[in-house]
Amino acid sequence: MQTEAIRSVLVVGGGTAGWLTAANLAQSFNSGAAGAVSVTLIESPDIPTIGVGEGTWPTMRATLQKLGIKEDDFLRSCNATFKQGTKFINWQHSELPGSYHHLFTSVSDPTQFNLAPYWLQGRAGDNLSYASAVSAQGVIAELGLAPKKITNKPYEGVLNYAYHLDAGKFAELLKNHAQQKLGVQFISANVLDVTLAADGSIAAVVTDTAGTQQADFYVDCTGFQSLLLGKAMGVGFRSVADTLLADHAVTIQVPHPATDTPLNACTHSTAQAAGWIWDIGLTNRRGVGYVYSSNHVSHDEAEQTLRRYIGPAAESLNARKLAMQVGYREKFWHKNCAAVGLSAAFVEPLEASAIFLIEAAANMLADQLPALKQNLPLAERKFNSSFLFRWQKTIDFIKLHYALSGRTEPFWQAARAKSLIPESLQDLMQSWQTQPVSAYDFAHVYEPFPMESYQYVLYGMGFKQQLADPQRYRQAEKAGMYFQRVQQLTRQLQQELPPQRELLAKIYQYGFSAL
């Protein structure tokens, strides 16, 4: 029994998580070939996907490339645009308008050479923000320019980038590609029941129109309901609602007024009285949503706030309200079932962490799913400790944005109450008051957010850092060269990079050359 092989995987759920995971597994296992491990996906024809989740992380480029999807096909079929970071608007103060960028590109990898101490010493110039001192990308994004040119290879950027995409169209693209190119078997049916074996592992899923389906391994991608891991196996949910206070979102899709409306080159995130509004530009519409705490604002008021933000264009448009379960499962992998996506964990979408953790989970599953059942327990332990770490660090990073805010509304005051800040984050913030952010603060290989992300947010939010021993930073000349290089690149790239729409039009017409 224990030396039995794992020959089949059943993914339940066909949202972003289900299709990304099924496609990745099938690609990795070569499921299209005769005799390979089979990957099957069951999706309900009746239960819609969550329908949001349209901002990604640069990891998506590697993911799409691994799956063998052409970048032009992806851009075209998902109304996708290039995302060069997030612009945080009014996060620092309630009264004083202001903004900063969390970017994907820095002139120097700070784990190799950290420019921050020299920026603090004023060596980049007096009135230059940290982001503008270490990266050309903020200016490029503000101008609405693309991160690459038509002469770049697919997935290659002049500047690092991610995407904004239409979640529904993305699942559709993956669904077709996974079936046609990667050998994923598809079943359209509702799972009515999940039966357990004597040892508590999943024995089968019972469907309405496709009978009983069995597999050697199951992946729960059923969204917030967590049908397999949560409901059937009874793995508990650890809420972090006391740390991250936002528990609802209201969203509206806003068509662009014209086909040539300029496109934002980064996600906008604008602080509001009881949360924040995301604003993501696709080629045909914006996706806009207010993530808020229902303890601090009524649902009606939240919707009104969102409508005011959008302006007159919102009048004829429908709003959709979503409840968010914020937290994570006690285990992400239990016996012969792993959960990926909303069924595993969710935190407010402030840093687009959900999809990249789906990519990460699918990658790890593809690598770690053992060929023999006897090796399942070890894989389970590794997976669980890895993703517990990643989710806790994600929660810390999201919390950092709130902990640094000086906004005065009750929601914001509550959100930065010291008692609600995880100790791991408090320790880091304490040390950063007098010493630089260090590569050793992020020593884990699977740190979800890199050192540079923390620096963009810390310095962007005006974190007070007074380096206790300024004598240590003696490479001012080298730093000066980097700062100059950024200014030179900023000028040069403004000339070279096309506006987003112009590049997209060329991509639609010509495509990228494969080379």
Partner: protein, 232 residues
């Protein structure tokens, strides 16, 4: 700068077309477009390379005539220094464009900013509202070029399919100056060529593709000669 407009028997009734064997318009062009039908003839004069068109990102074939932008080592005030003159150079300032792709119909256009196109000297283009014999002959060669250009695109598409193109960086060390890289050039990957299956190999024969591949490879022997011109 170029200013491409369609030739029009009314509007351009008074215009003439002059030929200038010195080709001043390419005095500082470091690459010149080539069509696949010219490769064999061009290979004895220049290295044949592939570059991406900066406006479309698509590959096109070119003669490499200089080692940095703005430099044409075959161009001299006294006359063109190579045995071969690319068709596009000879046709200039005329070109044929297809208003609708694949329609087979062409219109003849001209770079109206070229001094070769003027009202003072050269051959008459229109007489009694009709193209002169001279214009018809020039138009025919412009159309022939446009037709070869479609073949070139097919050839390049085939090279890409077979993964036969590879990026090449030329590192140049001019005497008494810092070495620099000439980037953005692509050539034929010989290793990959050697690995083609018999079937892939034969598929290249269509439209004389094999000849073209060999012409490109042979043309690489022009590279040291080009670099040598720099020293002169």
């Amino acid at each position: 700068m170029t200013n491409i407009v369609a030739l029009d028997s009314q509007q351009h009734q008074q215009h003439k077309l002059r030929e200038d064997p010195l080709f001043p318009h390419i005095a500082s062009a470091h690459i010149l477009p080539l069509e696949v039908t010219e490769f064999a003839a061009a290979a004895v004069s220049f290295p044949i390379v592939f570059v991406k068109d900066s406006a479309t990102g698509q590959f096109r074939a070119c003669a490499l005539t200089g080692l940095q932008p703005g430099q044409n080592l075959y161009w001299q005030p006294s006359g063109w220094q190579a045995a071969y003159i690319p068709l596009a150079v000879r046709n200039y300032p005329l070109l044929a464009v297809q208003p609708e792709a694949q329609s087979g119909d062409y219109i003849i256009a001209v770079d109206a900013d070229s001094p070769l196109f003027n009202q003072h000297s050269g051959e008459v283009l229109f007489a009694a509202d009709k193209g002169t014999a001279y214009l018809q002959q020039r138009a025919r060669s412009a159309i022939a070029l446009a037709q070869s250009s479609a073949l070139t695109q097919q050839f390049i598409a085939r090279l890409l399919e077979l993964e036969l193109l590879v990026a090449r960086t030329l590192t140049l060390t001019p005497k008494g100056a810092e070495p620099y890289d000439l980037t953005g050039l692509y050539g034929i990957n010989e290793q990959r060529l050697a690995q083609l299956t018999a079937e892939q190999w034969l598929s290249l024969r269509a439209n004389n593709g094999l000849l073209a591949v060999h012409a490109v490879l042979m043309s690489m022997s022009q590279l040291p000669l080009l670099v040598g011109r720099l020293a002169q």
